[in-house]
Symmetry: C3
Subunit: 262 residues, 3 copies
Amino acid sequence: MSGSIRFERDAGDARIGRIVIAHPVKLGAISVAMWRSLRDIAASLDAMVPTLHSVIVCGEGGNFAAGADIAEFPDFRFDPDTLRDYHEGVIAPALHALRATDVPLIAQIEGACVGGGLEIAACCDLRIGQPDARLGAPVATLGFPMAPDELAAVLAAFGRAGAAELLLEAGLLDAASALQRRLLHRVADDAASEAWATAQRIARNPASVARANKRTLRQLLAGGPTEPERAAHFGYAASVTHREGVAAFLEHRAPDFHDDQR
Amino acid sequence: MSGSIRFERDAGDARIGRIVIAHPVKLGAISVAMWRSLRDIAASLDAMVPTLHSVIVCGEGGNFAAGADIAEFPDFRFDPDTLRDYHEGVIAPALHALRATDVPLIAQIEGACVGGGLEIAACCDLRIGQPDARLGAPVATLGFPMAPDELAAVLAAFGRAGAAELLLEAGLLDAASALQRRLLHRVADDAASEAWATAQRIARNPASVARANKRTLRQLLAGGPTEPERAAHFGYAASVTHREGVAAFLEHRAPDFHDDQR
Amino acid sequence: MSGSIRFERDAGDARIGRIVIAHPVKLGAISVAMWRSLRDIAASLDAMVPTLHSVIVCGEGGNFAAGADIAEFPDFRFDPDTLRDYHEGVIAPALHALRATDVPLIAQIEGACVGGGLEIAACCDLRIGQPDARLGAPVATLGFPMAPDELAAVLAAFGRAGAAELLLEAGLLDAASALQRRLLHRVADDAASEAWATAQRIARNPASVARANKRTLRQLLAGGPTEPERAAHFGYAASVTHREGVAAFLEHRAPDFHDDQR
C-alpha cells in the first residue's frame, strides 16, 4: 500500500486543518508523489476559506515521518541530473511552500521524525513532541550529504550547533534531548492533545493577525521589510478586527473576532 | 496619575544607573510620552559622565512593564498614518536607542514583562527574571500584529522559534519556561539583588572595555566591522587601562582601573 | 618549559586525529608560536591522507586552554600596529583555519576553557564538557576588549545573548551553566571517553559525507551556495559511497564505506 499526504479540516472545528503524512506501513516514508502533494497542499493554504487559523502537521500510525521513501532511490539517485532534480525540484519546493505559507504550522511529533521528516518539522512554527519521539538526520548513514535547500531549513530552525550535531553524529535524539537542544518547543504525554490545545489557543485570536506576524517574520529574515511592505503592514489600521480588539480591551470584555477578514 | 520613565544614578554607587519604568497603577503601561522619555534617556547614556558602567532597566511597583498604554490607542490607532507614526516614530526610536547604546543594559524583570515591555527587555544585554515574572507578546489578543521594527528586536533576542511561539500562541510564559527558552539569562529569587550584583560585577572592569565590546557586537551584527572601524578598535593599544590590566596580571595583583577613560 | 600545539593520529585508530594544546605548566596558555602552529595544523587537515574522519581538540594536563600567553604581551600589545597584527595576523588566521576545515572538530573540554581557549572551542563543531570545565571570556579583566574576528567566532557559536553575558560579566561558567546556555553540546564525567565515542560514531559514516555537510553549512552561512557550488554538491551521484549506502539500506545490511573517497 503506497503512502499519501492529505489535507483535511478538523471535523469539529473548521478553523483547524491537518496535513497528514500517511504511510504507516513504512513509518511515514515520503515518496516523490507525497512530496509533490505536500507542496501542492502547502501552497494552497494561504487561499483557503473559510478562515483557517492553523494547520497541524502530523503522521498516521504513530510516527511523524521516517524520511524519504528509499525504495524509490535506485530510480533516480545515481545520475547527477535526476538526483539534483529530486532534491531541488521535488523536496525543496515542498519545504519552500511550508516556509512560505502565512498559516501557522504546528508539528505534532510522535515516533520517528527523521531525515525528510525532520526537514518538514523544521519548516513548522511550533514543534510539540511526544515522549516516544526520536528526531534526527542520519542521512550520512545512507552515504550522502544533506542537500543545500534542506540543510538551509534545518539550519534556520536549529542553528549551527544543532545542525552540526544532527548531521555529523547522524544519530537520533530522544524527546528530552531534543527539548534540551530546543529542537522541540515542548514535550507532552499526548502530542495530539497538546497540538489540538495549541491550535485552539491560536484560534482564539484573529487569523489575519497570525498571518501578518508570520509575514513580518519572513520579511525580516529576508532582510526587509521593504518600504511598500511597511506601508502595507499598517493597512489594518481601520479594520473591524483592530477596532474590536482595542475596544474589547478598553471595555474589559472578551473580543469577538468572528468578523475578522483574512 | 500618569506614568513616567526616569533615569537615576544609584545613590550609593554612581557607576550604576537605572531606567525606571514608573506607572504602577497600570502595571507599568507605557504611554507615548513615556516612550519618548525612554528614547531620550537611552540616547543620552553614551555621553554620560562620570563613567557609567551599566544601567539596570526595571519597573516600579512589582512589574517590569505591562506594554503600551492602551487607553491612548483610540487617539491614533485607526488611521494608517498616525498608526505608523506611533510604531515607527515613537516606539521604534526608543527601541533603537536602547539597541544603539554602548552602555551595558541589565533588565530586572519582576511581574509583567509583556508586549512593549518584552520589546524593551529584548533590547537589553542581560535579562534577569524573578520567579513571579511572566513574559509574553499577546498583541494578537488586541486584534493587531507586532510592528516590523519591534518584531526585529524580539527576533534578534529570541530567535525564530521563540518569536513564533510568543506571537502565535500569544500567551504568557512563567519564569521557568522563559529560562528554558533562553528568554531569560537567569532567574533569581530577588531580581533586584541579582541585577545589582551583576552591575557590580560589570563595574569591576573598565567601562571603556564593555562599551568597546558592545560596539564590536553591533558592528558584527550589521555585517562589519569596516576597515576604519577595525583600525579604530585597536586604538586602545597604548591606553592606561590596557597597560594597567596587563601589568596587574603579570604582577599577580588586582588591576586598578580608576583612570579608565570612556 | 614553553608550550606547543601538535597534531597526532590516534595510535589505535588512524581515522581519528588530535590537536593537542600542550602547555601544562601554564594551564594551556597559547603563545604566538602556538597560534601559528594551530593555524598550520588546521589548514593542513583537509589534505590529510589516509582518510581522517574527525579531529579531537584537547588540552594536556587537565585544562583545555587558559587563553593567550600573557607573558608575551608586553612585547607587542602597546603599539596599535603590532597589537593589530597579533589579533588579525596571528590569532584570526588560526581561528579562520579551524572554521574553514571540512574535517569535523570535537572540542574535549576539561578544566579551563578561557579567552583564546573559548575562541578555539567556538570554532569546533561539537563541544563536550567535563564537570570540572569552566568556560569564559574574561578579557575585560585584562583591560581590553575582544578583537572583532575573535568575537565573530564567539557570536557565531553562542549567539548575541551568550556573547553579551560572557563579555560583559567577564566571569567563568561551570559545566552545568554552560550546558544550560548551550555553550556545550553535552557534559560527560570523562570528556576524553565521550569525545572518543563521538569520534567513533562519526567514523562509522563516510568522511566524504561529513566533509560535504560541513562545506554546505559554511556555504549557507556565507549566503550561498552559488550555482557552481550547487552543481558540485550533486557530483556524488554515481559514487561508490552513495551506491553502497543506498544498497545496504535496501538490502537490510550494514553499509561498508571502506572505499569512500574523500
